[in-house]
């Protein structure tokens, strides 16, 4: 029971960090190595919001800083993503190797900026009071509120993303551009602004993920590099281009990771998970949820 909860908890964190990448990599096919740094930006935004609350507002209000930190992280990472797209990514569409190197460079620059601004050591973010503690279930297992909160946050993010991508007018434009850029342009859609906004949204969600990570542990300038591999793994395993696939990818990796770690040791568990992923992708190279269509057969 507890293992299952832990697995779902790990999955929810994986999903949160991979959701943004599901958009920038999954939909836009941009290999954005700076995705981890966008997560870091979100985390440091939460840190700054916390410090501002501590400095300028009465103690009673401090507990609520986190409610503001989430939208703030989204907004800051969104703005960074927008600038990154308009200043760099725009010129690198269809050139995966170049964009890989360029965004990796951007990631290094952002890490160094963070180091200069906040210092190299990790900083801690004090979780708000109302997220401490947990529910004690039968059998004495404790479900911490923080973990439950992250699971809830992921569900909300997923739901909002689903509404935006599949139910809104801008989402429809976005999918049209990602599927057939030339034709979308011929119908009167401004592909430039759709690209910029889509990339920025993916970045913004990375920011939310960073904000959530502050609940789990201290944050540092290189926090993103811990998560970037996992994020790509989730998107590739799930099947590039499908939101549902990303969900299953995260669940698959999260649950198997927890179980393998429970049965063996932490590092051996990780190795086993990666072996499983490699084997699985040999068997189904398109990932868990592959797109199938008459017009994609060629």
């Amino acid at each position: 029971m507890l293992q299952l909860f832990n697995g779902i908890s790990v999955s929810s964190i994986l999903l949160l960090i991979a959701l943004g990448l599901a958009i920038t990599f999954g939909l836009m096919k941009v290999i954005n190595m700076a995705h981890g740094e966008l997560i870091m930006i979100g985390a440091y935004t939460a840190y700054v919001v916390q410090n501002l609350f501590a400095a300028y507002l009465p103690d009673a209000a401090f507990g609520w800083y986190f409610a503001l930190a989430i939208p703030a992280s989204f907004a800051v990472a969104f703005a960074f993503g927008l600038v990154l797209e308009m200043g760099l990514i725009r010129f690198l569409y269809g050139r995966p190797l170049d964009s890989l190197l360029a965004t990796w460079g951007v990631g290094l620059v952002l890490q160094q900026i963070a180091r200069s601004l906040f210092g190299a050591p990790n900083v801690g973010v004090t979780s708000p009071e109302w997220l401490n503690g947990g529910i004690t279930a039968f059998g004495g297992a404790v479900f911490p509120y923080k973990r439950l909160f992250i699971i809830g946050l992921v569900l909300v993010c997923l739901f909002v993303m689903y509404l935006y991508i599949y139910r809104s007018h801008s989402g429809r434009r976005m999918r049209a551009v990602m599927q057939n850029r030339e034709m979308a342009a011929c119908l009167g859609i401004s592909t430039r602004s759709v690209d910029a906004v889509t990339f920025a949204i993916g970045s913004g969600i990375a920011g939310i993920a960073g904000c959530a990570l502050t609940l789990i542990g201290p944050i540092g300038p290189s926090i993103g590099t811990y998560y970037i591999v996992d994020a790509f793994m989730v998107v590739v395993l799930g099947g590039v281009g499908k939101l549902v696939g990303t969900v299953f990818g995260a669940l698959g990796i999260g649950l198997s990771n927890t179980l393998f770690e429970y049965w063996t040791t932490a590092s051996l568990g990780k190795v086993l998970v990666f072996l499983c992923i490699v084997a699985f992708l040999q068997w189904k190279p398109m990932g868990l949820v592959a797109m199938r269509s008459r017009s994609l057969d060629n």
Binding site: R175, A176, E182, M183, C186, L187, G188, I189, S190, R294
Partner: protein, 231 residues
């Protein structure tokens, strides 16, 4: 209405079209003929703006569009049914048609009746993905998508390519009814001589990227056909 002047265009360095001049007048169905590889699709793409013109101009209703992006041309009232149909495969039929509204002049939210009335089969398939439709159904969908913005000029690039005869007849009827309404002019690139003769008002024949012949239906005689079109 549409005036192409001395157009030169191509892919990158290679020049496909040279000195192409043609006109489409309001309410006319103008047909573009020619053997494979003479530049019919290239001309369509340059008129829509997908390919940039190297030289010459494309103007529409008196506005010079040569430097404008495809989206702006669409908003000026040019609808495009490309070769190969270019349906969005993962979007539903309904969403595909809704995207046609992006170019309409007023911000409309509903698909105009006139766009789908001619394709009664489409509303029965609204929930299916565009990519799952057959070629003929996709062609009808591409027509409905282009008509959704109620364009004044429709560019049709080989609409009958690879489509079963009964749907070719349907498409012929659609082109005729658009012509009968008189609100939309059509520029039609097509291989089938029999098809264009049944709908066209004026004809241009392309050869090696230039206009080799032009004239009305009565001028399109056996000799012209043998000289320019027989393989």
């Amino acid at each position: 209405m549409l005036a192409v002047q001395q157009l030169e265009a191509g892919y990158g360095e290679s020049v496909i079209l040279r000195q192409v001049t043609l006109q489409v007048r309001p309410g006319q169905v103008v047909c573009l003929l020619g053997r494979n590889g003479v530049g019919k699709t290239t001309l369509m793409k340059s008129i829509m703006g997908v390919l940039k013109a190297h030289k010459g101009t494309v103007s529409y209703k008196g506005t010079d569009l040569t430097k404008r992006a495809p989206g702006e041309r669409a908003k000026k009232g040019i609808g495009y049914v490309p070769q190969g149909r270019e349906i969005f495969p993962q979007l539903t039929v309904f969403e595909n048609i809704l995207l046609g509204l992006e170019a309409s002049k007023e911000k409309k939210r509903a698909i105009p009746e006139s766009a789908i009335a001619k394709f009664p089969v489409l509303p029965t398939m609204y929930g299916r993905r565009g990519g799952d439709l057959s070629g003929g159904q996709q062609q009808q969908l591409a027509f409905a998508r282009a008509l959704a913005s109620e364009p004044d000029l429709l560019l049709l690039d080989e609409p009958c390519e690879g489509i079963q005869p009964s749907i070719v007849d349907d498409i012929r009827d659609v082109i005729r009814s658009i012509k009968a309404d008189g609100k939309t002019s059509i520029l039609l690139a097509e291989q089938s001589l029999e098809f264009v003769k049944s709908v066209g008002d004026y004809f241009y024949i392309l050869e090696k990227g230039s206009i080799a012949w032009e004239g009305g239906l009565s001028d399109l005689n056996e000799e012209v056909i043998r000289h320019f079109l027989t393989v």
